[in-house]
């Protein structure tokens, strides 16, 4: 798991319940560019220097490493859009999640939705899910156990209310 931060844990507007959460990203795009290009320039300059002296076999390794670094930053960028959201409005419960290139939006009837929070030990290692029609969807991936327990209690009261 690489999630870090939960934003806007729960809020209400005009009777609707909205929960949104996303991972923390402390690296801004300009910082990312600075880090990547500084490392790439350093590696390339050194490899190129040796290559110009005839020791060219440093070049492919520098290239591979810069490629791996580029891939790593690309994956990090791809994760910037990760989020999970749960909305309860009227009789409709909407679940949305997006991780990397995968994502899903699921709607269920509030009266059929069931909240389950299973902890392996009391208050620890908890897994929160909302299920309907025999299919469970996990919620609160980016939350701590305390956060999941709190969200479970809120959801139960919301779904019953």
């Amino acid at each position: 798991m690489e999630q870090v931060k939960t934003e806007d844990c729960a809020g209400e507007s005009a009777g609707a319940f909205v929960f949104q959460s996303r991972p923390n990203h402390s690296l801004t795009r300009p910082q990312e560019r600075l880090v990547f290009w500084s490392l790439a320039a350093l590696c390339s300059a050194m490899a190129l220097g040796f290559a110009l002296m005839g020791y060219w076999l440093t070049l492919p390794f520098a290239g591979l490493e810069i490629g791996l670094l580029a891939w790593a930053f690309k994956v990090l960028r791809g994760r910037e859009g990760d989020y999970e959201a749960l909305m309860i409005e009227g009789d409709v419960v909407v679940l949305e999640w997006h991780v990397g290139t995968r994502g899903e939006r699921r709607e269920m009837n509030r009266h059929w939705a069931r909240v389950a929070c299973d902890c392996r030990t009391p208050g620890r290692n908890c897994r929160l899910s909302v299920s309907s029609h025999g299919r469970a969807t996990e919620v609160g991936q980016y939350l701590s156990d305390e956060g999941r327990l709190q969200l479970a209690a809120t959801l139960r009261s919301r779904l019953q209310g």
């Binding site: 798991m1 690296l27 990312e32 390794f61 897994r127």
Partner: protein
């Protein structure tokens, strides 16, 4: 949020147990633990080789080994200690501590983290098994200089492959650490608020990423010289063996700082805790670390004054080497200033940290002596050099590792270690270490060459003293092993904030730190 049937990598739910847990784990704490155990096993393996070396050197003449096997021992001791013990130990610390210190739930690339670790035992197995090959293990020195490394048997190819694999592991680990530190810091934890240990690892990871392609290229060129008829370093074909030394040390000197910067970080965490004062000159410590890293690219040829180079080049490398003493001096000054008028207590981590400051400084000073080109030409390849780098790497890197383990072990295991055993380990190690390596200065000044199993009679007494010290130092590490095992098994319950003066996010967590931590990022004010 995801479909429960395709849930994310959550180890708390139905994760494998037994050996599969350790093979497949992506949890930073599990991987950190594996790195540390691996490093300890390698420390004992390479340490046993060191004891064999010292046993042989107890008296002149050949007792236990033949010269070739002796050189295999010295070569493998160096390679395994550097790539198998010290570097993985610091990676273990990084895995355990970096996410806890920056408020992240794990590393940025947990699966890559798993791969980075598991490459290491493969490489270590390759290295160690080369003892069983025809011709034995590599005997050309850990620096892999041609022509010896071009002429050796199959174990040389195996060693080159092992170095490649360890380099790949280091690159994957470093990219993971850089991305984790930069992208997963808790809100409010700006760069200049990061703990010094995190800073030193960030800079170390930069150094690793910058230098690893150079090492990979160098050893690949050795490989092609050996097997594919190229002549990069083969003088017989017009190649230049001295150029290998330039390329190797262009990697090798930054590597020295890769081995010591995380040690600076650990000590910079410990001293303020036991002095109950904030670290003196935090910003200057960060800039000093960065300066050391930058300067490390400009000093490589001080390892090879004896091969011959123009006077201007000798002067340049001499002065640039001396320049490194400035940021290093800043660090030593700041550690001492942190202790100055502090409310000091001397638990085992602090004892090791103080020993680090004193003894590493001795290693630094002998380095300054060697930086002087005319002196270095006299002392090159003598025991003075052996004394110098062991003061830097044993009382520097290794003592910082011990200090860090004593410091964070209660957080990792949930139990306090035995302070009595810790003190026994400390005093035996410090006394033993000085008995081994201090006389080597005199041996070197008297002209005893390194990597030789036999020696002139005049060197006997100091060698005997060093060997006695080596066995004291070596066997005292068994005390450490017993202490670690006892602490894992039980002991007094550790508080969340184990040390009264400890500051930082890791101390806000329960002891032992739960399997999953900081799933919700803390906010740092």
């Amino acid at each position: 949020m995801s479909d429960a049937a395709h849930a994310h990598d959550d180890h708390s739910h139905g994760h494998p147990s037994g050996i599969m847990r350790w093979l497949t784990t992506t949890n930073h704490k599990d991987i950190g633990t594996m790195y540390l155990w691996f490093a300890l096993i390698m420390l004992f393996s390479a340490g046993t080789m060191a004891l064999l070396i010292r046993a042989e050197l107890f008296q002149p003449g050949l007792q236990l080994t033949n010269p070739d096997f002796f050189n295999q021992l010295t070569t493998m001791h160096g390679l395994i200690m550097i790539f198998g013990a010290i570097m993985p130990a610091f990676s273990g610390f990084a895995n355990w501590q970096v996410p806890l210190m920056i408020g992240a739930p794990d590393m940025a690339f947990p699966r890559m983290n798993n791969w980075a670790f598991w490459l290491l035992p493969v490489a270590a197995l390759m290295l160690m098994s080369s003892f069983l090959l025809p011709g034995g293990a590599v005997a050309g020195g850990w620096t892999m200089y041609p022509p010896l490394f071009i002429q050796g048997g199959i174990s040389y190819d195996l060693t080159i492959l092992a170095v490649h694999i360890m380099g790949l592991s280091s690159i994957m680990g470093s990219i993971n650490i850089v991305t984790t530190i930069l992208n997963m810091r808790a809100p409010g934890l700006t760069l200049m608020k990061m703990p010094l240990f995190v800073w030193t690892w960030l800079i170390t990871a930069y150094l690793l990423i910058a230098t690893m392609p150079v090492l990979a290229g160098a050893v690949t060129m050795l490989l092609t010289d050996r097997n594919f008829g190229t002549h990069f370093f083969n003088a017989a074909g017009g190649g230049d063996p001295v150029m290998f030394q330039h390329i190797f040390w262009f990697f090798g000197h930054p590597e020295v700082y890769i081995l010591i910067l995380p040690a600076f970080g650990i000590v910079s965490q410990i001293i303020p805790t036991f002095a109950r004062k904030p670290l003196f000159g935090y910003a200057s410590m960060v800039y000093a670390t960065a300066s050391i890293a930058i300067l490390s690219f400009t000093v490589w040829a001080h390892h090879m004054f004896a091969v011959g180079m123009p006077a201007a080049a000798q002067l340049f490398f001499m002065f640039s080497t001396m320049l490194i003493a400035v940021p290093t001096g800043v660090k030593v000054f700041n550690w001492v200033a942190t202790m100055w008028k502090g409310s000091l207590t001397f638990e085992t981590p602090m004892l090791f940290a103080i020993a680090f400051v004193c003894l590493f400084t001795i290693g630094g000073f002998s380095g300054l002596v060697l930086a002087v080109a005319p002196v270095d030409i006299q002392l090159q390849d003598t025991y003075y050099v052996v004394a110098h780098f062991h003061y830097v790497l044993v009382s520097g890197a290794l003592f910082a590792i011990f200090a860090g383990i004593y410091y964070w072990l209660p957080k990792w295991t949930g139990h306090m270690y035995s302070e009595t055993l810790g003190r026994w380990h400390f005093w035996l190690s410090v006394i033993g270490m000085n008995i081994v390596f201090f006389p080597m200065h005199f041996l070197g000044l008297a002209g005893m060459p390194r990597r030789i199993p036999d020696y002139a009679l005049q060197f006997t007494e100091f060698n005997q003293i060093a060997t006695v010290g080596a066995f004291i130092f070596g066997f005292s590490q068994l005390v450490f092993l017993v202490l670690v095992l006892k602490t894992i098994k039980g002991g007094a319950k550790a508080a969340d904030r184990v040390w009264e003066g400890a500051e930082g996010l890791e101390w806000t967590l329960p002891s032992p730190a739960p399997y999953h931590t900081f799933e919700t990022a803390p906010v740092v004010k």
